[in-house]
């Protein structure tokens, strides 16, 4: 039971990270109707920028950890958001009215570019950082000596995710930008006729998605203590799996799917085998799509001729 509780905590933390990435996929899919294949690599870039900012700040002699974290968060969100904007501008906007496969292939190409760009720029080796946030709480200690741990970093990941989700939900449901985004999702032509700047709205969607991915990258860096140039691929597929599992296009669904994938992966590693955890996650995707083609919270799609 204690073991189960510990795995539940670990799974929820991992799921929060996946959920943050999944929101970027689901938003872009909802509005533009394309799988932004490069999104996993945007997450990786976010992790790298966070790492580099950390190094610079520490070598400048800063010691106050909250200040460092805040600066790193803002810098990596800002620069990664610009990456998201640039990617949309270069690789997707010229193809917006092209046939369906074109933006997808362009996105695959962009994903190769980003992966190899960071390999060339930062080298192929794994980059570890020393743990910044240490300590934690012991929730429960069982007689046989097993301890349920809740570390500070885990608390931080979950709280950051909740805060970001609150801000994000407010943004989508209450602001002008959110209304524009929802309008574009329903009907781009009609939205444009009613005075919505479709190009700008789509750009902002990519910017917000990339900023959330940057936060996920920072969380990953803090939680696992390392980044490498290839981490975007697997994390990206899993986050996309999460988005599909939750029902693509649905924002709460993305978070729910993220948590589900995180839990599945953690429990599978804990109770069955670590080697096959990715196989488990992907198999779940296939099974879910067979029995619930629209995902957990997705709307059934009406086919129009």
């Amino acid at each position: 039971m204690d073991y189960f509780a510990q795995q539940l905590i670990n799974g929820l933390v991992l799921g929060s990270i996946y959920g943050l990435i999944a929101i970027g996929y689901t938003m872009v899919y909802g509005i533009v109707g394309m799988i932004n294949f490069a999104h996993g690599d945007v997450f990786m870039i976010g992790g790298f920028i966070a790492l580099i900012t950390f190094l610079i700040l520490i070598s400048l002699g800063l010691t106050a950890i909250p200040v460092i974290l805040l600066v790193v968060l803002l810098v990596s969100m800002a620069i990664t958001a610009l990456y998201g904007w640039t990617i949309e501008r270069i690789a997707y906007r010229p193809l917006r009215h092209s046939f369906r496969l074109a933006p997808m292939l362009s996105a695959i190409g962009m994903s190769f570019v980003l992966t190899n760009y960071s390999q060339v720029a930062q080298g192929a080796r794994v980059k570890p950082i020393p743990p910044f946030i240490t300590g934690g709480y012991t929730l429960h200690e069982s007689p046989d000596g097993f301890v349920i741990q809740l570390s500070n970093i885990q608390i931080m990941v979950v709280i950051t995710t909740i805060v970001l989700l609150a801000i994000f939900t407010w943004l989508v449901s209450r602001t002008r930008l959110g209304r524009d985004m929802r309008a574009c999702e329903q009907d781009q032509t009609m939205a444009a006729l009613l005075g919505v700047d479709v190009d700008r709205t789509i750009s902002m969607t990519f910017v917000i998605g990339a900023a959330l991915a940057a936060v996920a990258g920072l969380m990953y860096l803090l939680y696992y203590g390392l980044v490498d140039f290839f981490m975007g691929f697997v994390a990206g597929i899993k986050a996309f799996t999460a988005a599909v599992l939750g029902g693509i296009g649905s924002l709460p669904g993305a978070m729910l799917g993220g948590l589900a994938i995180g839990l599945i992966e953690t429990f599978w590693s804990a109770y069955f085998s670590v080697e096959y955890k990715d196989v488990a996650a992907f198999s779940i995707l296939i099974v879910v799509l067979i029995f619930m083609p629209t995902g957990l919270l997705g709307r059934p799609e009406v086919e129009k001729v």
Partner: protein
């Protein structure tokens, strides 16, 4: 030509300056600061402002050139119907280019007999031509986006590798088996998932490709895990080995043995397999099933309204494509003599898909030319090492922007009422399956 007023030099400079500014922010940390783990595991960093400056300068210059080009060329109107002159030109080239290419390919081992490197490269190109033609059945004809084609390639390769090393079965028995097994896996995957819409199908096939690769890595007792399968037997000339022994082919024919014989044999083997793929595809297109595939690509709802069983139709396309992938995999295993999971990554799937799309989706000649361009280009950049994939990715993006419909972006319908009009494939809606 263009109806808008050409913008002034200040506009161009302003725009380029903006691009350079964005590039400066993008590259500032990722390129400007290089991190590396030191010997004690401690991260160190050093700055590279020179590289950032030159990159920003390149972006600035490049964006000025782009703007100037855009003004000079102007926005050209998209032509929907291919003009008759172009059409007849293309059909003229098409009529003679394909046989000419085929004759040249047949003569390659004669011309380049002493150049082992060119022969090896030609075999590699032909392998990708075959993979491209195989995937073309799925993507180009049936309009199903398959991002995990490499899984069937892997199934074929491992089928032959394992059957040959464990049971000593010959290549000619294993080749059909590899194809059947791959097709079987295609049906197994396709049966439940082919009801899904295009994008879901894409991601499920991608997941399937990864599952196969992960299982190969982790099922060490059977597949040898990351170490792969080695000592896979070379193919024989229908039972007669191509080696230096007394009952080898060279000894039987009474000619002097040379290792090039085997390379030449492999070359003609893959050429025959590729041509078989091409021939089967062309024949299938004329059968009701092939017509159903093409109809499915154009409009799935209409297909269902006409009483076509879409699931079965998709399944046959999927299985046919998978079978050719399996054949190619068996050939790959016998050619390399060694296979490991590293050969079956997602990059491989993306490369084959890029070949099909660049080739114009559905055009057999286009796929062959695209494979030649892609693999040849890849070889040209071999010395660039890590930059190679970077260049490949950029090329994919640029080609998509420049010609989203591929190099040969038009097609003549297989069935027509009075006269075949080649239409630009911009008019064709595909991949909505």
């Amino acid at each position: 030509m263009s109806d808008h007023r050409p913008a002034g030099i200040s506009y161009i400079l302003k725009k380029s300056f903006l691009s350079a500014l964005i590039a400066l922010v993008l590259f500032s940390l990722m390129v400007g600061v290089r991190t590396e783990a030191g010997s004690s595991g401690q991260l160190t960093y050093w700055t590279r402002f020179g590289e950032v400056a030159s990159l920003v300068a390149v972006v600035f210059g490049g964006s000025i050139v782009m703007e100037l080009l855009r003004q000079w060329i102007g926005s050209s109107g998209a032509e929907k119907l291919v003009p008759p002159a172009v059409q007849s030109g293309i059909s003229f080239i098409g009529r003679y280019l394909a046989p000419a290419l085929l004759i040249f390919t047949l003569l390659v081992p004669v011309i380049f007999y002493n150049q082992r490197y060119i022969l090896d490269l030609a075999i590699l190109v032909l392998t990708y031509v075959m993979l491209g033609w195989g995937l073309n059945v799925v993507v180009g004809l049936a309009g199903l986006l398959d991002l995990g084609y490499v899984a069937f390639y892997a199934v074929g390769a491992y089928s032959y590798g394992l059957l040959a090393t464990n049971f000593g079965w010959s290549f000619w028995i294993c080749l059909p088996l590899a194809g059947i097994l791959a097709a079987f896996w295609g049906v197994l995957l396709g049966f439940p998932v082919l009801r899904l819409r295009g994008d879901y199908l894409a991601i499920v096939t991608l997941a399937f490709g990864e599952i196969i690769r992960l299982v190969i890595i982790n099922w060490q007792e059977l597949t040898g895990g990351p170490n792969g399968v080695s000592g896979i037997p070379r193919p024989s000339f229908f039972g007669i080995p191509l080696d230096n022994s007394d009952d080898g082919l060279a000894a039987k024919l009474g000619i002097e043995y040379s290792p090039t014989h085997r390379i030449v044999f492999l070359f003609y083997l893959i050429l025959a397999l590729a041509l078989l793929t091409n021939w089967v595809t062309i024949r299938l297109r004329r059968l009701p099933i092939g017509r159903a595939w093409e109809a499915l690509r154009e409009d799935e709802v209409a297909c269902r309204a006409l009483g076509i069983n879409t699931t079965t139709t998709k399944l046959t396309a999927f299985a046919t494509g998978a079978m050719f992938g399996g054949f190619a995999g068996a050939f790959f295993a016998t050619r390399q003599g060694f296979i490991s999971p590293e050969s079956f990554t997602f990059q491989e799937s993306a490369l084959v898909l890029a070949i099909v799309v660049l080739g114009g989706m559905g055009s057999q000649l286009g796929v062959a030319l695209a494979a030649l361009a892609m693999i040849g280009g890849f070889e040209l950049f071999r010395s660039l090492e890590t930059y190679r994939m970077l260049v490949f990715g950029m090329a994919m993006v640029l080609i998509m922007i420049w010609r989203p419909r591929g190099l040969i972006g038009h097609r003549a319908p297989t069935v027509y009422l009075t006269k075949a009009h080649a239409i630009s494939s911009d008019l064709v809606k595909e991949g909505h399956g």
